[in-house]
Symmetry: C2
Subunit: 483 residues, 2 copies
């Protein structure tokens, strides 16, 4: 954890958080409590779900939030803030409450993943860092899951650091990839910080350093007899790489009582080459030698290679995972939902020309609804504190088809948000990455319909509303229209 | 600079850098000097050039390179390294030489942007961090330049932090965007670290906090009478946002002797709305009120909006800039080019099935060739130390059309790499970001053909070779084929 402990990311914000804060402070509004929701509007890559990741880093950020002298000096230099406000920043600490989905929760559009209930300035200032963390890690966890599904049980490792959008993207990307189901990463700093399994063997430079490919392989095998994985595509995979690898297996490893663990190819037609290589290795009695492939892979290329019968044991996935190349923007937003007025939270709604941009107003609860077999059939938004009684059929409103009369029968409901910060103090222990990863696995294997996990045109998870919540939202829309 | 000083990014590497290093160490090869080149194979988005960015952060990284006790303990825990090697790491410092293009140089595929000449382990260990930095910053600088060109002189600001791939991507992305021609950023930490102009006004939450849009605008104007920019699309741009903004201009600002500086729209059809708004503002005597737009912009949407006559003064560009959404991978690689043998550097070449993946071997120099008018007409690779005399016609080899007999006449040649690190010590002062940004501007305005700056199907910059270099490369290819 050596990195995050030493970094103060308080200044990682858009300037408008501060211009607003300064205005609220000057107008004596800073202590009014408000609620903000984090939610997103559509799943990446047209998928059926996303994976919530990044909560642990948000909690660390919240606990570290403070302005140093040099930060305040910087703000003063901009000549737009009052001295009283700058003095107030000196002792600023986050003092609000935060509620969030458990990290690793399968999530869907338009439901509040995180809710912040805090004094106005506290709630506003954390917007940018909070979104950047959720957006990045959820994006990479979700993308990785797609790749892992395409690999159909074969190992997927993150090899992306060099193409990541700078250092944090490599390190927190590796964390998110592990949550999404990667078996490990090549990125040492991520391994060190998060205890993720790391792997690594050789680059083309190793092979090119020596005058001869066989000599290069021999040196490697002598150094790593228990984990010899040879990169066979520096010169000519079939003509020299594989023959030299087999020769090393026979002449160097076998006399030591060792087996060649694997070969890796990083270029060429991976379906064609892997089949040809498998045969060459098998013919040489190296049936246990694994074939690892890398080179611009993603869920689409992996699906296609496997459809063509590629003989592959493990995938190293780099740039297209670590940048989520096919859809590199995760669009979670942070919208105000309520403002305290005379001791109660009055809902706020944002109207938009685009229907999908109309927000869900007010303080609310979110439940996941499970059928008797444990499948998650829908999510449900209620007004905060509403009783959700599933012991009898529960009538709900479907906001997409509000004319239909529908009920949940024989279902159970689980509240998805839990309080994680209380009056500025974190009240949950860090979760182990292994537990988060296992939780993702469990949900996708036992709770989430397969139909939601399809790449193309997946089933859209229902986000329903309690009758009371739906009525409140409709009333607000009508009121705004008649204003 | 508070962030970078406190971070040790030595562990930001792929594990294979260490497995190779350990092998080289055990085999007594660690002091052999080698050369590696950084280069990339194609310009992002099918463009005609890219912008080299990130050098300053590379130099900081190189100077900080060292392994802490806890790093060594981590490596020990992996059970793959020898104790002698781990002991060696304790005092490890980078001791090699680095040559690089000046930051902000317009660059082209397949030429060495950076060359590292160093003992084998030193050269190998820095691969991952060096590539991640160059790849990220060059990607964002290049993408930003495309957006800036599309805006045809209108200001472009970086608004992307919340959608960046974590914190570094926001901060170093803002730096790169500024190099590429953005006028500033919304990201406070980037402003603080790099002295980039910052801007920011209000979010929808400001408008929604108040019960009434006019009240919200009024409060803002009273707090910032000299820089009132109002976000007008929370409820209904034409029906309420603009009328309320005009009312604030008349009732709040004019009595103070102030003018409404601008309005911002963040949704809807920006071409249609901006024309309508311009008319409404002009009719109200607010001809000097600027129209700022944001909402998923990039070079393509901006071009299209301007073609339709959008009346826009300034663009806030977020997610598509900070993630380089249309092509989020910059593919610079780090390839060994030479190994010292008996006091001279013997060239190395990587052959590949894909012609474009064959490397340029050996120690080399790169020149940019200018015609009499100062236009850059080609780049030229020579063997290291070759004399390039342009006082007479200079015959060169065109590696794409080698049968042609071509010469540079009345041209000048400028060497593109300069030494930046000597025996592990940085020998160049940090350059100011303003200078780097101005250098980009100067090259694109006076040196680089407009035809290379087209979005679609741009002119491909020539990368030529001296006859001696070309012959050396061909000899190596022939030799490898006959092996």
């Amino acid at each position: 954890m050596k990195q995050s402990e030493t970094r103060n990311l308080t200044m990682m914000m858009d300037l408008y958080e501060m211009t607003m804060a300064n205005g609220y402070f000057n107008d004596q509004d800073k202590d009014t409590r408000v609620a903000f929701d984090v939610f997103y509007r559509s799943n990446p890559d047209g998928g059926g779900f996303a994976i919530f990741a990044g909560l642990e880093q948000i909690l660390e950020y919240i606990e570290n939030l403070h302005f140093d002298e040099e930060d305040i000096a910087y703000f003063r230099s901009l000549n737009i803030f009052t001295e009283d406000f700058l003095a107030y920043l000196k002792d600023f600490k986050f003092s609000g409450d935060i509620y969030a989905f458990k990290e690793g929760t399968i999530m869907y559009p338009n439901e509040p993943i995180i809710t912040v209930v805090a004094p106005l300035i506290d709630a506003q200032l954390i917007e940018t860092a909070l979104l950047a963390q959720v957006n990045h890690q959820s994006l990479i966890a979700t993308k990785t899951r797609r790749i892992v599904s395409a690999a159909e049980g074969r190992a997927v490792s993150d090899f992306g650091a060099r193409r990541a959008h700078n250092m944090d993207a490599a390190v927190y990307g590796a964390r998110a990839a592990y949550i999404g189901g990667a078996v490990g990463t090549a990125t040492v700093l991520a391994g060190q910080m998060f205890d993720i399994p790391v792997s690594g063997t050789m680059a083309h430079s190793w092979v090119m350093y020596y005058k001869d490919e066989f000599e290069a392989f021999k040196h490697y095998a002598e150094n790593y007899p228990d984990g010899t994985v040879l990169l066979v595509d520096t010169y000519d995979v079939i003509g020299s790489g594989i023959p030299n690898a087999i020769r090393v297996a026979k002449e160097v490893l076998e006399p030591m009582g060792k087996r060649l663990k694997g070969i890796r190819i990083d270029s060429g037609d991976l379906a064609y080459l892997s089949k040809k290589i498998r045969k060459m290795l098998d013919d040489a009695g190296l049936e246990d030698c694994k074939i690892v492939v890398s080179n611009s892979l993603d869920e689409y290329t992996i699906t296609s290679i496997l459809q063509q019968g590629g003989k592959i044991d493990s995938f190293g996935v780099g740039e297209r995972l670590i940048t989520a190349k096919s859809d590199p923007v995760f669009g979670a937003v942070y919208k105000i939902s309520a403002v305290e007025e005379n001791g109660t939270f009055a809902p706020r709604i944002k109207i938009s020309e685009n229907v999908e941009k109309i927000t869900n107003p007010g303080l609310k609860d979110v439940y996941r609804i499970y059928d008797e077999a444990g499948h998650s059939v829908a999510d449900l938004i209620t007004k905060a504190g509403e009783t959700v009684d599933m012991s009898a059929p529960y009538r709900y409103a479907d906001p997409v088809k509000p004319w239909k009369n529908r009920s949940f029968e024989n279902c159970t409901a689980k509240k998805l948000q839990q309080q994680v910060v209380k009056e500025g103090k974190r009240i949950v222990e860090p979760e182990s990455l292994e537990d988060i990863r296992a939780y993702v696995e469990k949900q996708l294997n036992t709770e989430v319909w397969e139909e939601e996990q399809r790449f193309e045109n997946p089933h859209e998870h229902y986000l329903d509303m309690s009758p009371a919540y739906y009525e409140m939202k409709m009333d607000m829309l009508h009121e705004s229209r008649t204003r």
